[in-house]
Subunit: 587 residues, 2 copies
């Protein structure tokens, strides 16, 4: 029997409850104690008429967060509490045992409306767990993981544990390293992802793999990043996107159904990377609201605005967003949005409103009367709308408009928080140009397959080659990323040569992995879905710490355990490792 | 459609199969190719009468382990192969595509009877996966994990991921350390177990936790040990053994049922640690065969054997095993068993046989005729049995008899490999005496609860105090270990004082954890089951590498990836770490 179970149907039953003293009220003649466990709160009444004197007296002395066990009879409450499921009954205590006393906690447990500094909450994570949403979130997270495992098991995917002690590779982010005691001057690396291992499993003939796995990246943290994160990692052989996407879609559908009772309807939308960037300025658009980016470069040429003209003549573009109902913004309010775009190098936002009289304000004065209808038509402006326009270099401009669009979506309340808009973004570029090093780089890794329609561009226009890489996006967040991999050795060589890699560099950087691909590699593809991010979306938080049992703080510290911490000199000696200024100090 | 699917019912169907070229035979007029995938092998026939000439010619040139896709019609085979499920049919190929060529593998895939050196198999793990039992084992392992998760989820246990980047603690085995880049001279440790985190979850109010988790210990390896291992970790609040054991038993029952179709029948046997040691000389007895240790110290006094008499008079014991049917052993064969006991400091085994004429051979001559019946009765000797006896210090003697018993069990074929004998060993000692440091130590950790019946011995005879710790054993292997934890602060203080720990030592060694226990700790207990060992028992191997996808070798190296490996100086610099002789070299 738990503290969340009892209802009026139990009246008359003798029960035993255990839990924490959540609140207690000493009314003199009797003592009321709210007993709490993971499942709920039940009121217990200590009344000298029904319980031995010692019990009644003991109840008076209970402190907050004492752990007790109570036996008694379920009775109807005189004054019901309709806010909690057990609020119609209470326990008339016959006996009570203190299982464990408690010191006064550093913050109140019973009142979780009080704002407690995050550092204190992290240090006493176990007390914070007794309040608020951490435990319900962990339960939802468990449920999501169970759904993933059931769904993928039904599809004959096999969960395989890949090593924690892995090999450091120069690709990707910074590795966490682990010195080897047996082989001094040698290090393991914690896995940034099981990418190579899962592809190796495909080479080994296990055609459907998955794993819910902890990965580590030693990067500087943000509110949505932790040094260790969790992904739902998948790979399958002898398949293409048409085989993988429905499996992932069903997985996501089931997670949302089980965890949030939200019914998504696969197949999900798909959009090419190119189209996505053009329409939303980003490869992870929030599709819960419209407001697409519209091009007006051609119209801009016809205006008398020097600013727009100059931008166009120097090779830039002019694009904008129609802010529905934006005409109610004051000039000052519009100018406040400039702070969103200045970080991208834009001095300001050009704007105009459609009023009953036509386009007004801002740059309207540069637009001839004859031209106005074309602008209105292009942006589908109605009376009361406001156009916001940027002019300049295309890629910066798109990034800025993406940010502006997200901000406007919030400010104009265009986003229904109960809505979920999943999207596949496909056909990512295969290469990107590394300006600094003056060479071509893989957008993800060199094992991503080029789009088969673009093979003839590999020599003539590599930067224009699309890949078979894809992202999975929900509500403006990237949830997952993956690709069809190259399984043909000839094509793999071609890609290496476009990247300008020598045999030696290939061996150094990808060594054993390239060797493995030589022995008969099946066509295969995969994806990694971010579990933490998925749970964040399910519960609607922007703080990744909310979805992890024992998170690190902004400086990668566990404030509860004190990790990282100093260790004994003897431990380091065994590892053949020296730290600190000792080498300098010797001089 | 997979290479394991097709049966005579499919005859006439057009199918597409993909897989690896397992074997091929060129008969001139036609070519037969066995195509293999995870699910099975199917024979494909290339005959110029049914397939275009180019396809037929292409088939001739297929090398081993090429990856191909074949389309064709299912037909009955003229000469069926009854050894494989698809052996009644074959595919008459209409078309064929080479998806990926393959270099000649370093060892044959199709013939897995050839002995390949383990190093080579580990280096080319992905090729070894295409032969033999690795993939079926990984599939069984997945099945076992799924059973665990389903069973525990049904019992409202919540799977919670605990940190990989944890805190180094001086307890237990050697830690793997991870230098912190953000906090130089500080280190994370990889978890040896999530012990403290799971107890903290109980303090936080999550009353039922589990996790299938990778743990790491930097110890020298044996054939049944890896630097990283996997455990099924559990903890629950407001419960005792009577609550936990049935849950674990049902878990184990379901795993054996699902993975091996073996039906174990809970409740499992229980035996106290004390009884276990007396009867089998070990806390992890193999109960698949009898042959218990029997005491004959009293009888030994009555013999004229100087050896036995001396052992007894110097405080030792005399105990032995009745080897059923052992009388057929020659003196030489019996003496060969001495090598089992010499490592424990015994010079030899005393023995005698029961023949038709009575006790004969070995020490029989020291036993008077009147005494013989007592020996025969004590050891329940029948004609044809052989008694093996050791005399000396009890604890060494019991260890030696355990080893001798295991060896005899094998040699006399007493062990039915299809039989599983689970056992709970309870009431482990709470303390042990550290001879070197001259002080009392916890048998496991100082948070294990003493047996409540033995509390009054804590002062008078601490070494005699039983704990509420328990092991779970199957067939002579420890599968799991756990205990009821202390939740009472007074009792916890008492234990610390018996251990002679000062407040400062307590803070240094257990710091945050002891603090957490102050704020209202519920009664709780838990267990950790070794997943790797469990799978080893399920498939009947002694080599832990057989049950892990990517194992390390004896020197903690991953021969496939080359981990651990050298890293760039720049990486170490960022971490503030120096390796090797550089500090010495500066002088």
């Amino acid at each position: 029997m738990t503290c969340g179970d009892l209802r009026p149907t139990h009246v008359g039953q003798k029960v035993t409850l255990s839990g924490w003293v959540h609140r207690s009220r000493n009314l003199g003649a009797m003592v009321f104690v709210d007993v709490r466990d993971r499942y709920g709160i039940t009121q217990v009444m200590f009344d000298p008429r029904f319980s031995p004197d010692s019990i009644y007296k003991g109840a008076k002395e209970l402190g907050h967060e004492y752990v007790i066990r109570v036996e008694g009879e379920v009775v109807l409450r005189e004054s019901p509490n309709h806010k909690i499921p057990t609020g119609l009954i209470e326990i008339q205590a016959h006996s009570m045992e203190v299982l464990s006393e408690a010191c006064v906690p550093p913050f109140a447990i019973a009142d979780d409306t009080i704002d407690v500094h995050e550092d204190l909450r992290l240090r006493y994570r176990y007390l914070d767990m007794r309040r608020g949403d951490i435990v319900p979130t962990l339960i939802m997270r468990h449920k999501a993981m169970q759904v993933v495992r059931s769904a993928l098991t039904e599809e004959e995917f096999i969960e395989v544990s890949t090593p924690v002690l892995s090999k450091s590779t120069p690709e990707g982010s910074r590795d966490y390293l682990v010195p080897s005691r047996v082989h001094h001057e040698h290090f393991y690396a914690l896995p940034q992802s099981p990418q190579m291992f899962k592809q190796i499993l495909m080479v080994g003939g296990l055609d459907k793999y998955f794993q819910i796995v902890s990965c580590c990246r030693d990067e500087d943290l943000r509110s949505d990043r932790q040094p260790e994160f969790h992904q739902i990692d998948m790979e399958m052989s002898f398949a293409t996107q048409e085989g993988l996407f429905p499996i992932v879609e069903d997985l996501i559908r089931r997670i949302f159904h089980e965890c949030r009772a939200v019914d998504l309807a696969p197949p999900f939308r798909r959009m090419s990377h190119r189209e996505c960037i053009e329409r939303y300025g980003t490869d992870k658009p929030d599709l819960r609201f419209e407001m697409e980016i519209v091009d007006a470069t051609d119209l801009a040429k016809e205006t008398s605005s020097a600013l727009l003209n100059e931008a166009v003549s120097s090779g830039g573009v002019v694009r904008g967003l129609n802010v529905k109902g934006g005409a109610r913004l004051s000039r000052k309010e519009i100018e406040a949005y400039q702070q969103v775009v200045v970080q991208f190098g834009f001095k300001g936002i050009a704007w105009m409103k459609r009023q009953d009289e036509g386009l007004q304000g801002g740059i309207a004065k540069y637009i001839g009367c004859n031209e106005q209808p074309r602008w209105i038509e292009r942006f589908e402006m109605e009376v009361g709308d406001c156009l916001m326009i940027l002019a300049g270099e295309k890629s910066r401009l798109l990034k800025a408009l993406d940010q502006l669009r997200r901000r406007l979506g919030k400010d104009f309340d265009l986003i229904d928080p109960s809505r979920y808009e999943p999207l596949w973004v496909t056909d990512f570029p295969l290469f990107m140009w590394n300006e600094e090093e003056g060479r071509m780089e893989s957008e993800t890794h060199p094992f991503t397959s080029p789009h088969l329609d673009d093979l003839d561009l590999l020599d003539s226009n590599p930067i224009g080659v699309r890949s078979m890489g894809y992202d999975f996006v929900i509500n403006g967040y990237e949830i997952g990323s993956g690709s069809q991999r190259i399984h043909d050795r000839g094509l793999q060589k071609k890609i290496f040569s476009v990247l300008g890699l020598t045999e030696e560099e290939i061996a150094n950087r990808f060594g054993f992995f390239v060797e493995a691909l030589k022995f008969g590699t099946p066509p295969h593809l995969g994806i990694a879905l971010g579990l933490d991010r998925l749970i964040m979306i399910l519960i609607g938080t922007e703080n990744v710490k909310d979805v992890i049992a024992f998170p690190k703080n902004h400086w990668a510290q566990d404030l509860m355990t004190g990790a990282p911490s100093e260790v004994y000199e003897a431990q380091l000696k065994e590892l053949g490792v020296t730290v600190g200024e000792s080498t300098v100090g010797q001089n």
